[in-house]
Amino acid sequence: MKHYIAHFLLFLFAAVIGPSQWAQAAEPEPMILTTTASGIGIDAAVAALNQAIVNHNYTFVRQQAMDSRLVPYAQEVRSVRLVYFCNFTKMDRALRLDPRATQVLPCRVTLVETPTGVDLIAVNPAWVTQNMPGLHADCQEMKRDYLAILEEAAL
């Protein structure tokens, strides 16, 4: 009898928690997605990233220096660049699901030039939406797109 009670309690709590929160608790998402393009400068890395963006069915939106418009143009730091891009079909779907999707829109990669190459860094959209169940599945797909784009850009 006690054996049945124990199993019942376990079942009850598994049902209450639900599979999504269970998986969420088990596998926390990393905040940052990153890769390194070795042996190239920032302009070449931006060009490679733009090509990868197009190859994965996204549209280039804009690029800017990290301190763009915060300092005079001539004083902008050129070694840190932001590249924004978007897939408008995915954006439309995400905004219909939850307006908080704007927190991951448009997509963005930060490029940081180092002595050995360029680091390409993105905030993991699946990390941002960990507590937004309606968006999380779409953002996991977006995370896979980011990883593919970063990998291709770093080749």
Binding site: K2, H3, I5, A6, H7, L9, L10, L12, F13, V16, I17, Q21, Q24, A25, P28, M31, I32, V61, R62, Q64, M66, D67, S68, R69, L70, V71, V80, Y84, C86, F88, T89, M91, D92, L95, R96, P99, R100, T102, Q103, L105, P106, R108, T110, V112, I121, A122, V123, W127, V128, Q130, N131
Partner: protein
């Protein structure tokens, strides 16, 4: 043995129950304010509120028109990016991963004769960086954003 299994089941159940009653990691809501103006007036008021807090409007991303001109429904939303040089320099010096949060993003949502202004959710960032100076920086940006949003309402 059965009693031990029962106790273990209770302990497990109790710990899960406690976990459910606590906030999930990174859980917090974005800052939200609303007022009865149209989008154009809201943009002007945001620019003024930003200037009052030594923040610069870096970029307006009109995702409403971008989607509409591609044949999607107009979501009646715009993104604004605001920043300050000091925030960029602090992040560069103290915690470069925080550059991914800059420039700060605001979403303008036009609905039912009014506009809602929504910040990104700072909660996950505060959770991810529990120690100073990064934690204090995110708190400061959050407070600055809140003050700016209050100013927007008061315009």
């Amino acid at each position: 043995m059965n009693r031990r299994a029962l106790l273990l089941a209770f302990a497990f159940a109790a710990s899960l129950g406690l976990g459910l009653s606590l906030p999930l990691p990174g859980h917090a809501d974005p800052l939200l304010v609303s007022k009865a103006v149209d989008m154009r007036r809201a943009m002007d008021d945001v620019a003024l509120a930003a200037a009052n807090h030594d923040l610069v409007l870096v970029k307006v991303q009109p995702i409403d028109t971008a989607l509409a001109k591609r044949g999607f429904d107009n979501p009646h939303m715009r993104l604004l990016f605001i920043g300050s040089e000091s925030a960029v320099r602090w992040a560069e010096a103290a915690e470069p991963r925080l550059l991914n949060l800059l420039p700060l993003r605001l979403t303008l949502i036009e609905r039912d004769g009014g506009v809602t202004l929504m910040s990104d959710d700072f909660g996950p960032w505060l959770q991810e960086f529990p120690e100073p100076p990064a934690h204090l920086m995110v708190e400061a940006w959050q407070a600055e954003m809140k003050a700016m949003l209050d100013d927007f309402v008061a315009q």
